[in-house]
Subunit: 404 residues, 2 copies
């Protein structure tokens, strides 16, 4: 029997305990032994539940118990998750976590400690919820040089954008609906400002390049400025607007960003709607692959943790060598990246188009009925070039990067 | 240095040699050692190429060379692939293959021999070309009870159906075009009659259930009877017609079939077009995931073989325990499966609808202009019930299973 401890009995933690029970036989067959939850660390009590007699409030009980060979961290946040996980690894226990903040901030150090202590530090559930992506990157695509990873990595914002697109809702209404359904937090900043997506693309970029990525170096723009008017134009163009985390690898550097991007119908991520996530991976030999599924939710995310538990316990005496080293990967500045731009501008196209084309050269104009504005799509140019040119025009109301 | 031998220097085999060379450093980093091709077994010579001095015509050179620790089988077919692979495993060499016919016919035996000799028999490339699916099933979804696998598993037929749908072509024209582009063989039977898809869904079903699947027990219907008229109706319904291989797992049995199925826009496989493949996996905890990418092609398929090479060589002294046992999984008869049915029938709806509804109960009628026929969609019923009822109506021209 293998004894594990679960730290944090919230949504994901209770999901892990539930799957360990419900899929007990399948899991035992894969591990080669039964897996039993010995402790659940939480500040609360859970009287009348199956974990009632497993609850402990003192972390030292877990870290000092030699019978516990693996710890599952589903507390979230950095304190006390970081010191607890570090202590578990140093005590020679395997750790699986669903905590993207922890992995993005301390992944390099924790991977190193795991290696030194010949244990495993696994984090499939930190990106893409139940979608297998971390493990495919280091197993299935192990022989590839990864050229690009682009994903819809946050279910909350994808739900909001889908509502705005399909039901013509404003950002505020769609956000309130997402909050009422429990998809968005009361304080939605981490999702809608793109911080969550930023940490996830940082982890994926580090996995793909093999080098540490400082998520603070990644340009991050959220969806709070996207309006129902933008979606009206998008509809007339047959396009959609999605919050993308994207990373293009070059030798020793990456272009990485998080921003809403207007994409066309033939983009593999176009049809990823609602709370679903999709992650597109381009390898130099493989071409484009896409992974699609539930990016969040109790059981899908817990299922990804379970896969880590099985891998760690199958390789109990062996360090699974994956992840990244502490050589920092250079993240190129946003100014040097190139896009097309969708721009909305005050006035009437018939009167102002000449002025626009004097600045931007040939553009594609788009007009909707009954508006005191029009829009245009530029050719591809660098962010630096766009910013410089945009200053020459008055009345610009919106610019959204476009790739189609 | 690890020495490998490649058996069969056709499309996939030469792709494997090419990637081993082009991504040499990445692969060496993952394996922890350089990988070198010592022999290439082929009946032909390849003067002036990089493998010129590695070509051997005698299999015994490979099997007897203790320096060769891994063999890659990319010959296809069963003879001599089967005896060669068997001999390699018995000689304690790891084997990776892209050969779905071999895996579907002899997988059970070869997995058993691999285990007995503590080596690995891996076949990621046998299903879905470059799309990672075999490995995710035994790693990422290891803790799941798989409830369903449904896929577009054959690029040739998907290309043909896409051409019929998008360009209004007949089956014959689309097939000829696929042949001209090299997507379809001169003798296209294995693809268009569904035999290729059948072997692939058999392998996936065995992986998901852990038990042997006899592909000959799987009902298999190809696309040769699908016409441009069917697609005209599909368009008016907002649906598509795709060749699906599908398997629904129950305790100790599976409902499995290969057939063209009419699916709606909200089906995750709806937008998988051209030569792309898509594989949808439903787990009891995870919900629905989808894997999408190039289902065929030299480098994508070879890339999947490379992932197997890396896994085998990283675990050189260890048997990776996956696959299935020799307990045959019962495949339920097609008669017991349930679908809706799209049916085309001679005559005029106004005159014959009453007769149709007397037999089938409430149906949804569909009429196109200028036709001497109409169509209808039944409610869900078993195949047995449909067949019985259909006999009561004269002039049925087509029936396609529908799921939407």
């Amino acid at each position: 029997m293998k004894n594990v401890a679960v730290m944090g009995y919230g949504t994901i933690g209770s999901g892990v305990v539930e799957i360990l029970e419900r899929n007990k036989e399948t899991i035992a067959r894969k591990v080669g032994d039964t897996v039993s939850v010995k402790y659940v660390l939480d500040l609360r009590e859970f009287p009348g539940t199956t974990v009632e007699d497993k609850i402990v409030h003192d972390f030292s009980i877990i870290v000092k118990d030699p019978e516990v060979t693996m710890v599952i961290e589903t507390m979230g946040g950095l304190k006390p998750a970081y010191p607890f996980v570090k202590a578990c690894l140093e005590a020679g226990k395997h750790v699986a976590t669903s905590n993207k903040a922890l992995v993005a901030a301390y992944g390099t150090e924790l991977l190193k400690i795991a290696k030194e202590h010949n244990v495993n530090f696994l984090f499939e559930a930190s990106v893409g919820g139940g979608i297998p992506v971390i493990r495919p990157l280091y197993t299935c695509l192990a022989g590839e040089e990864i050229e690009e990873i682009t994903g819809i990595l946050n279910g909350t914002t994808n739900y909001i954008l889908t509502k705005m697109e399909k039901a013509g809702e404003t950002f505020e209404t769609a956000l309130r609906e997402a909050q009422d359904l429990g998809y968005a937090e009361r304080n939605p900043e981490a999702d809608v400002e793109g911080h969550d997506t930023c940490r996830k693309i940082a982890i994926l970029t580090a996995m793909a390049s093999g080098h540490e990525v400082n998520f603070e170096h990644i340009y991050t723009e959220g969806i709070t400025k996207i309006t129902d008017v933008d979606f009206a134009y998008a509809e007339s163009l047959g396009t959609s607007i999605k919050l993308l985390g994207s990373s293009r690898m070059e030798k020793g550097a990456a272009h990485a960003f998080v921003a809403p991007v207007m994409i066309g119908r033939d983009h593999p991520l176009y049809s990823v709607s609602d709370v679903y996530n999709g992650i597109l991976v381009k390898g130099n030999m493989l071409g484009t692959s896409m992974f699609y599924g539930s990016g969040a939710g109790k059981l899908p995310t817990a299922s990804a943790v379970i896969a880590d538990i099985i891998e760690a316990l199958k390789n109990e005496d062996q360090h699974v060598d994956f992840g990244w080293d502490d050589q920092g990967l250079a993240i190129s500045s946003m100014e040097s990246m190139s896009f097309r731009y969708f721009v909305r501008i005050k006035g009437i196209a018939a009167k102002r188009m000449k002025e626009v084309e004097e600045v931007f050269g040939k553009v594609e104009g788009i007009e909707l009925d009954h508006m005191d504005e029009f829009a245009f799509l530029t050719e591809v140019m660098t962010e630096e070039e766009y910013d410089r040119k945009a200053k020459e025009l008055s009345g610009i109301r919106q610019r959204i990067r476009a790739e189609f």
